[in-house]
Symmetry: C3
Subunit: 420 residues, 3 copies
């Protein structure tokens, strides 16, 4: 996953344009049959209208010695994303309204956008900004803002059932690693895991420009998704190796919420539990009133709560193979639990006789039971046809995933069955 | 409001008689069209029977020098309320069973009543009681206890809807300020506020002698009130400037409860939260089983929990303009929230595009949003057609009243509508 | 009750055999018309099959001097319960796999069973075990394991209603006092209490071998019990005088749970509150999925949590008359509350006039009410036809049993009636 991030990092993405297409083409190398779609400029998607497409080939600020002091080719964050073209000579005072810096993080280049209002501008470190002299600078942004289309991609991995699990992430930020590329990398990691398995559910992978892309996607697929989706995971900021986080759905009561909390409680234990008030990525669309998809998010460190967020410091140093692996493990556990989550029912009235099936030591009257025996008797005591696997985990105070071998064993003895 | 209390203070009220009539006549000067009603002695109201009417013109204890040592005209608390007439000379020992004092508050004259058993008696400070000599005293109570009627008043202030809000208070205590007159004064304050507005709801103001008056009123109006009342506020002890209090309805789950808690939590923060076990005023009748009106009470310091309660120390010094204003503000906020409390629904699927309506800064990718933007996006995220304004306040952790300008703005952009 | 325990203590009980029959015959002397039942070997009861019947007359280990160093007649725990017959001479090494001790409790003889696998063995103190020499021992177990039957008993004490309360305990342990005989002794104590009263409910007393006996009983009576049982109490470990405990039903939400918690909260206050995960006696069967009887357990110190459990130290010194009396009191209180638990409704609208019924002091305007008056007014305020007696206790923060005299008084004034 880390290698994929390295490969995608240099590309200048935005909410439209060739950067997105290039990114999706690379992702398509890892995911067989990834479908790309184009939504033309001017098309209405719910309350939004697809804007002109933006492409850029070069941008710089030159001093009077012809030296590029700010160069898009060195770091694509230097240009205000969606800048209109500009070329000319400007005094420092004329330039200043077009320059963006972070006085509190003087080493960092900020990430700024102006998708829906025509502007041009440059982002630079505050340290560099303070070295600028009061003289003329030659400025050029070689961009095009013209009718075109917005691009997104999806891939359905079919399972035994039509019921779907949504895996969504975004592809619209230029060179940033945790808050952009960790998401697609994890999506590919999950795809690799799932493509090798026989799955109960169908998995819908979505790669969209954030906000408008999710809205465009929903405007074309909402009816089907509402009918089919049992749970969804928005992948964002899943690459650093600091904490773990949970952002619930709007109601906080979907199966996705139950699963996420159960896995994080049992596998991670200490994590940041946010509320939907802290939302910020495409769960904003998926959980909007009337959309109401059961989508949660489990970042490592949440967007907006790490200092590198939306700056040039969110680079390849911030994400790590360990960080990505931690996120992959948590999401795989959630998916496994979702796949296995069923409601079981004991087949006997009263406790079954475990001894005759060699499921219990034949020497009686012990004062304590071995752990295995405790789990087995507890499963038999609580599998009442109303309590699902996750709830069994909550009641027994253990990770529900760990019950699966015991449930298989009890099923093989015809002592448990899936409730009708 | 304080001036009205000063004016009403000297009148000797009881559960029947001219003191009540005089009080209601003065209140009528402030409330256009206040209706007075008489319920004759002997009439049955639910489980109760209207007693004889009591009126009193004078009462005193004279020592043998002809000096009035206890004089009803100096303080009407001196006479046991509802005393039967008496005239004669008594030794101190004969007098003692008719004297009421407070040994633990030796400066205070207690307030005592004997509405339903014929008695006569005097209340005096324990200090004065201890100066009494073992000699003869001339005693006179010039009262009448004869068939007449119980008097109460109401006033309906009509709004757009027939649905009613109950504002109830009592008029039966003699010269006491906080535990009597603060209630009618606040009722007049709320009337002044509401009479100038165009209201959604109809407001039913009730002035009754406590307990039997409320029961008499209910016996004649319960059916209509049960059909129409959405919320009610019992006004009592609302004139001191110490804490704030909340006494819930019996269930604690009415809209009145939700409103009162929300306003007190957000506007006052620290207040005494009682249970219905601590009830004591006419909420006892309004929330009785089978009556079940949604009535709460928000005293400043609750009856029974301040030392001056039911003594001559509950005088004009105990109440203040500031104390009354605090209670008025809290009750006005409750009424405003009740009037504005609706369930809203967003009109778009997914987030609306705020930028094109100038509801959001067009420069993107900020790491934090201004407060106004946060409230707007949160309202849009939670207005799902099921969550009312109060619940929005609870979810967002802010006073719901503060959302009203934003809701109006969003409605003007057709982004929110009232749910059907 | 303590005397009954002394009488039953020496008998060697098991899950079948004459020890059980002897025990039930003695219990029958205390309970008129106790019915004994036999279920033949080989009969299937739910998932279980009744095993061969076990009887034993003697068992010992003799050293080479002919001295019985381990003698069943001194303590019937010495023999592994359900041992097959054996006779012969064994070296210590040959003997060792058949010897059971408790290295951590070197003075105690452990209690061990092998009901469902053919074994023979002896239990002894670890101290004695360490004195054994490496020589030949003569061993004899004079037992029979042959087709026969499993024995249990019940007794229905009929009340006004067919609705039943289950009182269940077990009779299958050899000489142990707290974890065996305290249960039957308490059952007899409760029977004596109930047989002298006129009861609302019918009481079903059950004496069964633990586990298989309860399963056998349920297999024959479940349909009727499910239809009729309102609450049940499993009696176990109710004879020591240390703490009190509560083991809920599986759901923790039956009337039995409400009653047990209310009585323990109010009468005992400090007690060990377990969950159904801590179950261990026949509540395992009664609360199994599909059985779902509303059964709780209120031991003094719970099985498995006292050091003498399942050893020879659980003897007549561990139980006491005081310990049994404490358990009897708690169970009697639960039964009384269950019998009296009804939902009451006030007969008036608004508060009734208590003064005219001499239920309230006629001198008015006190600042506090006497306790009796508070309870009366609170009962009248909360008896809304939906709140039962237990819930009244929870709301008022007092033991609901203490309300009964007031409820009778209010009923005698026609102020309360049982809700239809």
């Amino acid at each position: 996953m880390y290698g994929l991030i390295e490969r995608l990092f240099p590309i200048c993405r935005s909410i439209t344009g060739n950067g997105v297409r290039q990114t999706l083409a690379i992702l398509g190398e890892y995911m067989d049959g990834l479908n790309m779609y184009e939504v033309p400029t001017g098309e209405n998607c719910f309350d939004w209208t697809i804007p002109n497409e933006w492409n850029i080939s070069d941008a710089f600020i030159e001093d009077n010695s012809g030296q590029r002091i700010v160069d898009f080719k060195r770091n694509n964050l230097h240009v205000l994303n969606y800048s209109v073209p500009v070329e000319g000579a400007f005094t420092l005072d004329e330039l200043k309204p077009h320059l963006y810096t972070l006085p509190n993080q003087p080493d960092a280049i900020p990430y700024k956008t102006s998708y829906y209002k025509e502007r041009w501008g440059f982002c630079m470190s505050h340290n560099q900004f303070q070295t600028l002299k009061n003289k003329k600078y030659r400025v050029k942004i070689d961009s095009k803002l013209t009718p075109g289309s917005l691009t997104y991609a999806d891939k359905l991995l079919h399972g035994d059932e039509e019921t779907e699990v949504l895996i969504s992430t975004y592809v619209c930020h230029p060179s940033m690693a945790n808050n952009e590329l960790s998401g697609p990398a994890l999506a590919v990691g999950l795809y690799n895991f799932l493509a090798k398995r026989k799955n109960r559910y169908t998995y819908r992978f979505i790669f969209v420009p954030e906000t408008i892309g999710a809205i465009a996607y929903l405007s074309k697929n909402l009816e089907e998704m509402k009918k089919k989706t049992i749970a969804g995971f928005q992948l964002t900021c899943v690459g650093d190796n600091r904490g773990y986080s949970y952002i619930p759905s709007r109601t906080g009561k979907t199966i996705a919420d139950k699963i996420a909390k159960h896995i994080l409680d049992n596998r991670v234990q200490k994590y940041n539990r946010y509320t939907f008030l802290d939302r910020g990525s495409d769960e904003r669309q998926y959980c909007a009133p009337g959309v109401d998809l059961p989508v949660v998010s489990m970042p490592r460190t949440k967007y907006g709560s790490f200092p590198e967020y939306h700056t040039s410091l969110d680079n390849l140093d911030l994400v790590s193979a360990e960080g990505l692996q931690g996120a992959l493990d948590v999401h795989k556990d959630c998916i496994c639990l979702l796949e296995e989550n069923k409601t079981y029912q004991v087949t006997t009235l009263g406790e079954p006789q475990l001894g005759k099936r060699n499921l219990r030591d034949s020497l009686g009257a012990s004062t304590t039971l071995p752990d295995k025996d405790k789990i087995i008797t507890n499963l038999l005591a609580y599998c009442d046809g109303k309590t699902d696997l996750i709830e069994l985990g909550e009641i027994l105070g253990k990770c529900a995933l760990d019950f699966i071998p015991y449930i298989l064993e009890l099923q093989s003895h015809n002592l448990l069955r899936v409730a009708p």
